[in-house]
Symmetry: C2
Subunit: 120 residues, 2 copies
């Protein structure tokens, strides 16, 4: 059950991203989070556990409640991995690259057809 547990894996799930969106500004307790979703409290609890295990979440016990606080700095790992490519897809370097690609595509047009059909 406990296999890969990293930030990339954690934010892959849309529910977990929604949880982060929800608590990014201020800490929220478990039940309040769970009420916002259609799934059971236990399902949310598991998501919180995963977020917590990979360091995206800090849980503070306050009496019988648990306050969930986002530790956004953990997103830095993702930010950096994506960021290293940011300049490659923006700016005129990219425009040039796209131009070249288009040229290549034109010459392969017949065979490229097969590829398109496999797309959603």
């Amino acid at each position: 059950m406990e296999a890969r547990r990293d930030v990339f894996q954690a934010i892959a799930d849309p529910t977990r991203r929604a949880i982060i969106d929800m608590i990014a500004q201020q800490p929220v307790n478990v039940n309040t989070i769970a009420e916002q979703f259609d799934v059971s409290r236990q399902a949310i609890s598991l998501h919180l556990k995963i977020l917590s295990e990979c360091g995206l979440l800090n849980i503070k016990q306050l009496g019988r409640e648990r306050l969930c606080e986002a530790k956004l700095e953990k997103l830095n790992e993702v930010h950096e991995w994506v960021g290293q490519y940011h300049k490659l897809w923006t700016g005129r370097l990219n425009a040039l690259k796209k131009f070249i690609e288009q040229e290549e595509l034109e010459s392969n047009k017949k065979k490229a057809k097969n590829i398109n059909k496999s797309k959603k």
Copy 2:
């Protein structure tokens, strides 16, 4: 079999991130990619299919080979989601936020009941 297929899901797998790292600079054909990994060619082929289905990869048929080219601009979705929080975890804004949170926590400790009622 084909369930969620988005960029976040795609880059959650370390092998797929490694593939992107590998082809970010220039297109590479399937077998050449597969040779770099310990898993079978078919396993890599599936990863490529997933990357392709979510738009991170462009496949160009060249004779019997398939050139895999990264479409990095698809990473923009991730870049933006993470980016919206970037300012929250960097700089003195973050220091201030943390300070405020700490203050709030202190006062909440005494009147934890108010939190219960704040739920919808």
